[in-house]
């Protein structure tokens, strides 16, 4: 048998809901089972070293894995961070004990990031803070990028936002790294460190209801046909390939089920994209400037 290279992956959950793991389980091709068992690309296998949702072990035996991985100086593993880092109090989020003290998850995250080959922020919480970091939070919830800056850790970072992200966005990114190398992926990120191959297009520009917008046919209540702009669709300020990729094995997507896009892949989610069901207020949305000028003028009219 030819040698297979193992790519260790450490999946660390912080202030999270596990939705990112569950979304990854929805991967269709390759399936979740294949991702764990089979080679990701020929000659390379992803070794899921730490994943609270999947691993057989528990307690001390799995905390030891974190220390083993972070102690590596080869930098041979990928850290996937899910959820926020609660920086407001060390008791807000802990995982395992060391010397009789519960270890804050942000300490694990920093230690693991320092020695990683690359860090992936999985989901909007890890990428930008998301709901746990929204107005009213009491926990000092921060994104992974904020933690890296605070700790002055220099490591390649890729953001895969979404609440949750589509499984293809992570799997496709990992496969691209496996096939073409980290530099190739790192060189094709947008200004928010998102892979352009998934986050490069505007939802409104690629929406199947775009013709309704152009013709002025607007839905007024749930269940109506027509563009959902007046029901609060944030597609015009959202960059992701949901309209063409669609969700859950190509079954549907938010607009496909008659709901406005809430912009869950954007740093403005949820605060500046709220109220979710009210028409875009361009004054409050940073990313409005990225809009096609003719959409800007139409929506101001």
């Amino acid at each position: 048998m030819s040698e297979v290279i193992e790519i260790p992956v450490v999946w660390l959950p912080g202030g999270a809901c596990t939705g990112c793991v569950v979304s990854l389980l929805n991967s269709f091709s390759p399936s979740a089972g294949s991702l764990v068992l089979r080679e990701l690309t020929p000659g390379k296998h992803m070794s899921l070293r730490f994943c609270m949702t999947a691993m057989a072990g528990q307690g001390r035996q799995v905390v030891d894995i974190l220390h083993d991985e972070s102690a590596k100086d080869s930098g041979g593993y990928v850290l996937v961070m899910e959820g926020t880092l609660q920086l407001g109090d060390d008791m807000f989020a802990t995982l395992g004990e060391q010397d009789g003290r519960e270890v804050p998850i942000h300490e694990h995250a920093a230690e693991l990031a320092r020695n990683a080959m690359a860090v992936v922020s999985m989901g909007t919480c890890a990428s930008f803070g998301g709901i746990p970091a929204a107005d009213g939070n009491l926990t000092g919830a921060a994104s992974m990028e904020q933690l890296l800056q605070r700790e002055k850790i220099d490591v390649p970072l890729v953001n895969i936002p979404g609440c949750p992200p589509h499984p293809d966005w992570l799997v496709g990114t990992l496969m691209a790294v496996s096939l073409y190398g980290l530099e190739a992926v790192a060189g094709d990120l947008d200004e928010l460190k998102r892979p352009k191959m998934f986050y490069g297009k505007n939802v409104h520009e690629t929406c199947p209801r775009r013709a309704d917008f152009d013709a002025g046919r607007f839905a007024k209540k749930f269940g109506d046909v027509g563009c959902l702009y007046e029901l609060g669709c944030k597609g015009p300020v959202t960059f992701a390939d949901c309209p063409t990729r669609m969700w859950n094995t190509g079954t549907s997507w938010c607009v496909g089920a008659g709901s406005p896009c809430h912009g869950c892949v954007e740093p403005d989610f949820p605060d500046r994209l709220s109220p979710l069901y009210e028409k875009i207020d361009e004054q409050r949305m940073d990313r409005f400037r990225l809009l096609d000028p003719h959409v800007q003028s139409a929506s101001k009219a």
């Binding site: 939705g19 999947a54 998850i105 009213g136 269940g223 089920a257 809430h262 069901y277």
Partner: protein, 529 residues
């Protein structure tokens, strides 16, 4: 020694500390004090606080059904449903949900029940009973099982090792069958999410369940696609899931005697079967509602629900009924060991979840539950007194899956293409609403209060807060703690009994940790989960 379960650390050598407990949702730690091979005391600790719900205060009411789903990525649909119901009440449309809206909500929630139950048994719980290493010399022709063998041949065995060792009892052929089920389950649970997204847009975190009904158009082709997937899921439940429970029971029959718990059961009912009753606790529902305590069945009264924070990391003023609740974090509080509050019904703990629903339904004359349970008791060769147990919880979850999956076929047929799914909504200046339903893991309640057209208070009392609660002021342990106390542990280095008991409850910690809140001058006091 803040944060830990302090008094166990004083008894050297006899404490078992499991931090983290894996293959559950969220961050949990268990401390158990073992003496003479028996658990004498146990503490169940939630170790993550997001402070989620105060984030809702000041926001537009309609946003609640979207944002509260993000409390939990495993059971978001239940939160979306409970939140929408609380808003139905607050907005005065609880008796105006269109027929299609009610049926679509049931189909979406049902899809996620099936997803969650299948995920729980195979992906989360099964590795405590099934030995993946039995595939090391697999010689058969199943390509997935050959992939497992190839995986083992590469010798990097994450995430299946390390693990507890010494109590895998199935023979090789049985292990092979159960691993086959594990792999199939990963795909079938995905199919459940595909079903849901036909009407819900995407999963996790659907966008289809809204106050007043649902967003999606009903068309014949959507019904047809849903039906095809549902038939596959139904076949899996029938042919793989339920048989797997009996297979495991055959090798681990003593687990019908392990982990009985508090034997006090609470359920609010799930899946509305009538459109007209504005009170969710008066609606006809598929799954039963009631409190079963000391063998007596009683109606559920919202006024019976309180929360106690004596041993939770919140200031003492926070012990109250949820409608008046306060939640002021106190991370360093003496004698506190968990971020979970302790919900109590008539001042006593109650177990919630599939077992509770089965017990309440069995006692209350629920025809489908009695028929399923009686047949299963005969097949397993046990009496009904063995249901409160590790295996009883797994069995109840599987039987409930069959009831729901069969019922969903009928619901699909009730959809009316072209008819309305939603209702006109108007946000009142001031209102309150309560949404009570069942999540896969048990009784779920959302309380909303609106002032000046925005959310002024939002509270959740969720399943794992019930099951995983710490002690209360009377010193009475929560249901998981009670299920652990008295358990014989054969090998302290590999305490299978402890983790099998915990996982039988299907804990979900992200749901259960309250977030909470300041008593700000402008916002008042509110509680979040």
């Amino acid at each position: 020694m803040h944060g830990s379960c302090p008094h166990f650390h004083d008894k050297d050598g006899n404490a078992i500390s499991i931090d983290p407990v894996t293959r559950i949702e969220g961050h949990m730690k268990i401390d158990a004090y073992v003496d003479g091979g028996e658990v004498k005391d146990a503490q169940c600790c939630g170790t993550l606080f997001r402070g989620f719900e105060n984030i809702l205060v000041g926001r537009h009411p309609l946003d609640a059904a979207r944002l509260t789903q993000r409390v939990c990525g495993v059971c978001p649909t239940a939160h979306g449903t409970a939140s929408a119901m609380s808003l139905d009440a607050a907005l005065g449309v609880a008796d105006k949900i269109p027929h299609n809206g009610r049926v679509l909500r049931n189909l979406m929630l049902g899809s996620n029940y099936l997803q969650s139950h299948i995920l729980h048994f195979f992906a989360l719980a099964a590795l405590d009973f099934v030995d993946v290493a039995a595939l090391a010399d697999y010689e058969g022709s199943d390509s997935d099982l050959k992939a497992v063998r190839g995986f083992i041949d590469r010798k990097d065995l994450s995430p299946f090792f390390p693990r507890y060792e010494g109590d895998y009892r199935c023979d090789k052929a049985t292990n092979v069958e159960l691993v086959r089920g594990y792999l199939k389950a990963l795909n079938i649970r995905r199919t459940c999410h595909e079903m849901l997204s036909i009407f819900g847009g995407k999963m996790p975190h659907n966008i289809g369940i809204v106050p007043g009904g649902a967003t999606s158009e009903v068309t014949a082709d959507k019904i047809a696609t849903f039906m095809g997937k549902l038939q596959e899921v139904n076949a899996f439940v029938e042919d793989v899931y339920i048989p797997a429970i009996f297979t495991v029971a055959g090798a681990y029959g003593d687990y019908f005697d392990i982990g009985p718990g508090c034997e006090r059961f609470l359920a609010y009912g799930t899946f509305d079967l009538d459109d007209k009753n504005a009170d969710p606790l008066a609606r006809e529902r598929l799954l039963p509602r009631g409190l079963l305590a000391d063998g007596k069945l009683a109606a559920v009264n919202v006024a019976g629900i309180t929360e106690d924070v004596t041993h939770a990391r919140y200031s003492d003023e926070c012990s109250a009924a949820p409608a008046q609740g306060k939640t002021v974090p106190a991370a360093q509080k003496d004698d506190a060991y968990s971020w979970l509050k302790a919900p109590r019904y008539d001042n006593m703990p109650a177990e919630v979840g599939p077992l509770a629903r089965a017990m309440v339904g069995y006692a209350g004359g629920h025809k489908q539950i009695i028929s399923e349970v009686d047949a299963a008791l005969v097949a397993a060769g046990i009496g009904a007194d063995k249901l409160p147990s590790v295996l009883g919880r797994h069995l109840a979850r599987a039987l409930e899956s069959r009831i729901i999956a069969r019922e969903m076929v009928g619901w699909l047929g009730q959809l009316k293409p072209g008819e309305a799914t939603g209702t006109e909504l108007e946000i009142p200046d001031e209102a309150v609403g309560v949404g009570m339903t069942g999540a896969p893991r048990g009784a779920l309640g959302h309380w909303i209060e609106i002032k000046d057209k925005v959310i002024s208070r939002y509270q959740l009392v969720v399943p794992t807060t019930w099951n995983g609660s710490p002690r209360d002021k009377a010193g009475v342990p929560g249901p998981i703690e009670q299920a652990l106390i008295g358990t014989k542990v054969r090998d302290r280095d590999n305490p299978f009994e402890v983790v099998r008991i915990i996982r039988s409850f299907d804990p979900c910690l992200a749901c259960s940790v309250h977030v909470m809140t300041p008593q700000g001058e402008t916002r008042g006091t509110y509680t979040i989960v």
